[in-house]
């Protein structure tokens, strides 16, 4: 183990990691009924979460259930989607918000222009985002690493500017009066109360988690891990890397589109500026902070990044300390600082996936190192830049 600037257990981050490792060991050897008990516990926890007594502590300033839907639930859903692209396949995507936008816009457009049923628009929106994921990926996925990152960022901006300049979908004014989700007779009615939307969000998150975990354990997930660790080796061993990268893009996009659809149904109004680059960066921060490639970690990261600013939105003593500014205004400043610090101290995140951690410690996971670094006694550079 190489030290990360801090020694032993003096580092609280590491203690969290150790605690989590213990839990993971238990989970590895847990019996089936024990696992199902945990699943049940998690679901019950999610169902009682909107309770007022929890809300009074978690979100005294604003309606807790609404906060649970946006930002918390939405960020968690987006982070799970981005985790497939970044965490599992190792493709850095800085334009993820584009898929969120496309999903939201399809629900809004087909709902308002053609009066389609809400569920149909969501399904169709997911289809459109999958296709756009392929369209976006096909030309760009030949690129590696940071070039890919910049191109996806460009694509995210292209989508936003195009929405802004196209009057057909409302231009800069956006789309208003998006229909609410259609009621399911006898089960649930969607009106102005936030609760049903929250349960819809929970259902979506559960489905996506199951989907994501099954994928990770399948052949597809193994192919992604191989691509992430060493793309050339994977290709030589017969993994059709390009196809699998496209698949990762498309599946991540679908989850983004689903999140966009749910968001549009709740928000009733979307405009191009609902989908800025900073949202892509925020979701990326959530994934990286939590522990890229590890689902519980990613969800924790998304929760923290969504909840903290909301919690301290109108806290008086903090407000005074900041010279009368709303503490939530400082959230992006904080993200930026946290990203830099995390990368310097613990690049694998708070709850790293074990494999990921090993990769980062033994080599570079096939991503290549920064240039201008020279192997010294305390660095072990197993992979050097091949492109010299």
């Amino acid at each position: 183990m190489k030290g990360n600037g801090v020694t032993g257990n003096a580092n609280p981050l590491r203690r969290v990691g150790a605690l989590f490792d213990g839990a993971r060991d238990w989970w590895e050897h847990a019996k089936v009924w024990q696992r199902y008990l945990v699943y049940l516990g998690a679901i019950v926890f999610a169902l009682v979460l909107p309770a007022p007594w929890i809300g009074s502590f978690m979100s005294p300033g604003s309606d807790w259930t609404t906060v649970l839907i946006y930002p918390i639930g939405t960020y968690i859903l987006l982070a799970i989607g981005l985790n497939i692209v970044v965490g599992q396949a190792g493709l850095l995507d800085l334009g993820f918000v584009a898929f969120f936008a496309i999903g939201g816009y399809s629900v809004a457009y087909f709902g308002t222009q053609y009066g389609w049923n809400y569920w149909a628009t969501v399904a169709f929106g997911i289809l459109i985002t999958a296709v756009s994921g392929v369209i976006l990926g096909a030309p760009t996925l030949r690129l590696r690493g940071d070039y890919l990152a910049i191109v996806t960022l460009g694509f995210g901006e292209i989508v936003r500017i195009t929405a802004n300049n196209t009057d057909e979908i409302g231009g800069a004014r956006g789309i208003t009066n998006i229909p609410h989700p259609t009621d399911i007779p006898g089960v649930v009615e969607f009106a102005l109360l936030p609760a049903p939307y929250y349960y819809l969000m929970v259902a979506a998150i559960i489905v996506v988690i199951i989907f994501s975990v099954r994928l990770q354990k399948s052949r597809v997930g193994r192919a992604w891990a191989a691509i992430r660790e060493d793309e050339d080796a994977a290709e030589l061993m017969g993994v059709p890397t390009f196809k699998f990268k496209l698949l990762a893009f498309a599946i991540g996009a679908m989850i983004g589109g689903l999140a966009g659809g749910i968001y549009a149904g709740k928000a009733v109004f979307i405009e191009p500026n609902t989908f800025p680059f900073i949202l892509s960066a925020t979701i990326l921060a959530a994934v990286v902070l939590g522990g890229s490639g590890n689902l519980p970690g990613v969800m924790l990261g998304a929760f923290v990044i969504a909840w903290l600013p909301e919690r301290f939105r109108e806290v008086e003593w903090l407000k005074d300390a900041l010279g009368g500014k709303d503490p939530a205004e400082f959230r992006i400043l904080l993200f930026g600082g946290v990203l830099v610090l995390m990368m310097g101290l613990k690049p694998e995140g708070l709850l790293p996936s074990r494999r990921r951690k090993a990769e980062l410690h033994e080599g570079t996971g096939g991503m290549g190192t920064m240039g201008a670094e020279v192997a010294g006694p305390d660095t072990d550079v197993t992979t050097t830049e091949a492109a010299k």
Partner: protein
């Protein structure tokens, strides 16, 4: 349509050259840092933003006397450019120490470094929006800040229907001078040789007695100074700035660097000018609201078909 194009061709060519000079100056920083560190310095756009605000403060200070002409203008321009270059260069060096050096020492992956760069970029933008801009100007940090006019917009001469104005000449001439200076530094000085050597093979460079840390510091200083000059020229030409002015401009300048061939100084100049022209000519057909989309599309196409850019060779392969 074609009539439109012919009518607007010359004026938009001039506009494209002015924009292109600014892109090229910013692109130099991207290209140098990429050449030496293999890192897309995502926070470089904020170094440019710092340059615009430095010159905003100076221009506001001399505002009662402006618009200036003759020697006074020359002196003030020199002061603004020098100060912006100094402060931006310093900021870039600080950025390197805080955000990149620890990672470099640990042998971090390139994606780790890029994420750190994004973090630094957001941090700097917000620091300016929340703290520094209100303190400098006394206005809300997220507003557009406009600057007083420093140079009169006099037409010096015309080519066809394109008026070449004083400010156009200042921007293009200043940019060209800065680029020649940088080219000289990299190709003719000892420190420049160190930069080229490090870009080519850091390990061999160390064995030959090059101090990598010094080289990286100087690289950031030079690139940052160029971005600072670009910031000064941008403010003088467009007379407004905002805390996130660097975002789109930064991506475009990076596009220019890639277009010319990343790691290649002369390529940055070529890429900047070509991108500026493509953008402005394309805007005649599509309207100026599509300018950014045109630039990003150029980026995608270049990376797809010729990732090494137009000139293709790079800092590392340059003959010492």
């Amino acid at each position: 349509m074609l009539d439109d194009f012919l009518n607007q061709f010359l004026p938009s060519t001039v506009g494209g050259l002015v924009f292109g000079s600014i892109y090229a100056l910013i692109a130099l920083g991207y290209t140098m840092v990429y050449g030496v560190l293999r890192l897309i310095n995502f926070a470089h756009s904020e170094i440019f933003m710092i340059g615009t605000f430095t010159s905003l403060v100076v221009i506001t200070a001399v505002a009662p006397a402006s618009p200036l002409t003759g020697f006074a203008l020359f002196g003030v321009m020199l002061l603004i450019i020098a100060l912006s270059a100094l402060i931006s260069g310093g900021a870039a060096m600080l950025l390197e120490v805080v955000a990149y050096r620890p990672l470099r020492k640990k042998g971090a992956t390139r994606l780790t470094a890029l994420i750190s760069a994004i973090g630094a970029s957001l941090f700097l933008q917000e620091l300016f929006a929340l703290v520094i801009i209100p303190w400098l100007t006394g206005k809300p940090g997220r507003n557009q800040q406009s600057s007083p006019r420093l140079v009169d917009r006099d037409t010096v001469f015309s080519i066809g229907n394109a008026a070449i104005r004083t400010d156009h000449i200042i921007v293009i001439v200043a940019a060209v001078i800065m680029m020649i200076a940088l080219d000289r530094v990299v190709n003719r000085t000892k420190i420049g040789r160190g930069i080229r050597a490090t870009a080519q093979d850091p390990e061999a460079a160390v064995l030959m007695g090059v101090s990598i840390d010094n080289i990286v510091r100087v690289t950031f200083l030079l690139g940052g100074a160029m971005a600072g000059v670009a910031g000064a020229l941008y403010l003088m030409e467009f007379e407004n700035t905002v805390f996130n002015v660097g975002f789109v401009l930064g991506i475009k300048a990076f596009t220019a660097a890639v277009l010319g061939g990343i790691g290649n100084l002369r390529g940055a100049l070529l890429g900047g000018v070509v991108l500026g022209l493509i953008e402005n000519w394309g805007a005649i057909f599509l309207g100026s609201e599509w300018k950014d989309v045109i630039a990003f599309t150029v980026l995608v196409i270049v990376l797809m078909f010729r990732p090494t850019g137009i000139l293709g060779e790079s800092l590392q392969k340059a003959r010492a």
